[in-house]
Amino acid sequence: MGNADTVVYPDVRTAAALSGQWHVVVFNDPVNLMSYVAMVFRRVLGFDRATAAKHMLEVHQNGKSVVWTGGREQAENYTHQLQQWQLNARLIRART
């Protein structure tokens, strides 16, 4: 809802484009500290220490880690937050 001065842009993306499961994937980078990455996972995704460490090590050793899978809107939210924390995060459609 908006007042007369508010412009509301409708989400014109098709339902098909937004449907299904989406992965939030974090890719390795040579700059961010391992402790920093683990901390960000805890802060943004609510992981406990062990889970954050597990995903951090996956990023470090495998080059990437799928940190969350679910609906498009929440996946966008998490991806944006992780990027705000300067992690190399991307949104990728999960294979059905």
């Binding site: 993306r13 700059v31 991307r90």
Partner: protein, 161 residues
């Protein structure tokens, strides 16, 4: 670097206090200001909005830049206050996140600009012959290492790691 975590019962705020060399901070300040100025208009790395949608991309990027500007502003203000207070930097716990993100952004930007002559492995392991670096690279590397140390300290003191 002397580090202390304190709690102010009057304001119910907790602080992390670091005592650094004011001369070092003064030396760091121009470089941080230059890098931060660049980060006001461009993100530290190239981020792709989720899909090829110009409106979403603009909103996505605006959100990232807004946060980046506030975060870098916090880091710069911290350094300025530290210089004014003879090297004493006091970070309120609630603001530590901004400093952590800003430090990451500055380090990313330094990596792809002033430190691009150094190998990833050298930067990760610290196996760098500091004295053999060109003056501009030396300054950037000192800043890069300092910010990493600052991040480690904050993460440790916040119990957030």
């Amino acid at each position: 670097m002397a580090i202390e975590r304190t709690f102010d019962p009057g304001t119910h705020m907790s602080f992390i206090t670091l005592q650094l060399s004011p001369r070092f901070l003064a030396h760091l300040q121009p470089l941080l200001e230059t890098v931060s100025a660049g980060l006001r208009i461009q993100t530290a790395r190239e981020f792709d909005a989720p899909e090829n949608d110009p409106l979403l991309a603009e909103t996505w990027l605006d959100g990232l830049l807004d946060t980046l500007r506030e975060d870098c502003g916090e880091l710069l203000e911290l350094i300025r206050r530290g210089i004014a207070r003879q090297g004493c930097i006091k970070i309120e716990s609630g603001h530590a996140e901004r400093v952590l993100r800003a430090a990451s952004a500055v380090r990313l930007r330094l990596r792809v600009t002033r430190l691009k002559s150094l190998a990833d492995e050298s930067l990760e392991t610290g196996d760098v012959d500091f004295n053999s670096l060109a003056p501009g690279v030396r300054e950037a590397y000192a800043c890069y290492v300092f910010l990493a140390g600052l991040q480690e300290t904050l993460i440790d003191k916040l119990g957030a790691g």
